[in-house]
């Protein structure tokens, strides 16, 4: 099938996702990532810690863990859709970072993303494809934050690249 042989123009892909996102907005709410991950974190923490988790107020007040939270399934769907796309186009193979420095950067990056999402109550998807189109004040704050952060991140990244060279 042609679709699995050629790379799709991202403008077409994102336009299609945007139209579907409008249906999501009408049914439940705009495309979001972060809430689902937090719920997954809570569910894993509950499985590991059991009733002890109740001693951390965040999990009883802000995010009581529930497996039937719809946002979890957007993320699992993305994993599934990408897996199907990769297998069908013969692009699925295990890629493992080779250098220790990559593992360190990914670890720090992941930690910052997780911490940042919860501090802001939103992630970048909600910023670009939820808050901004709803013209929410938070969208403009978040956009300024992520652009400034990406700029600082790029500076750090450039410095590291130069050092490696």
């Amino acid at each position: 099938m042609e679709f699995f042989r050629k790379t799709l123009d991202p403008i077409i892909a994102l336009a299609a996702i945007a139209v579907l996102d409008i249906f999501m907005f009408l049914l439940m709410g705009a495309w979001t990532v972060g809430g689902g991950e937090t719920m997954m974190t809570g569910l894993v923490a509950q499985a590991v810690l059991g009733d002890e988790l109740g001693r951390i107020p965040f999990w009883s007040i802000v995010f009581p863990p529930h497996a039937d939270y719809w946002k979890i399934y957007i993320s699992l769907g993305m994993l599934f859709g990408a897996f199907v796309g990769a297998v069908a186009s013969k692009e699925f193979y295990l890629r493992v970072p080779r250098h220790l420095s990559e593992w360190v950067l990914i670890t720090i990056g992941g930690l910052l993303m997780g911490f940042g999402i919860r501090l802001a109550y939103i992630c970048n998807v909600s910023t670009f494809f939820g808050l901004m189109p709803e013209m929410n004040l938070g969208g403009y704050l978040a956009m300024s934050g992520i652009v400034a952060g990406a700029w600082v991140g790029s500076l750090i990244y450039k410095k590291l690249l130069e050092r490696d060279v």
Binding site: L20, A45, I56, I74, W103, G114, L137, L141, G149
Partner: protein, 216 residues
Amino acid sequence: MTPIVECLVAFLFGSVAGLLMQRSRFCNTAALRDAIMFKTYRNTKAMLVAMMILTVGFTGFMSVGAGHPLQFDVGLNTFAGLFLFGIGMVLAGACTVSTWVKAGEGNIGALWALIFTFVGMFLFSLVWSASWWPPAPQTMTGQINAPALQLGFANAQTLQDKFGIPAIVFGLAQTAFLGLLYRGILRRERAQHAEHEKHQKEHQKKKAAAAAAVEA
């Protein structure tokens, strides 16, 4: 809708979005990072197009009171959180969406980033439980709350209620602004292309001159 139907709809949406992103190699991180670091705009343009469609769609439906806009107070934490996120996504080389997509393609580094995103969230839950900031959703007032560094809640709907102008009017203004940004990018790309062609022609001329000199 029952929670199970909601979960099914969400899974279906996620699957289609994941498939389209995998096939198009779209990445939010690249949309910002590549524009900043490499002055290339493949992903930035796609992001802007989606934002324009969504702004018209969301504010259009909000004008008639339809849809489910996000409801929570924003403030300093919104800026600070996304600032940290912005640094993190560039270092990790992927945002939350592309980590899922890349993990689906078999990228172990992306899976590792996801695990540590979860760890980061858990760490924040501990920090929040000690600081109780930013305010929990239950205590959000929708108003400015200076001691908690909160600016309250405002979107196209509240603008419509306040000024009596339909939300779509504000939406169209934002879309026009995004359209101008898009046009600016196209101009820049054309200039880059022209510059590239000029360099290539000069290079070819030099090569031809050198070959002629060797022959002579």
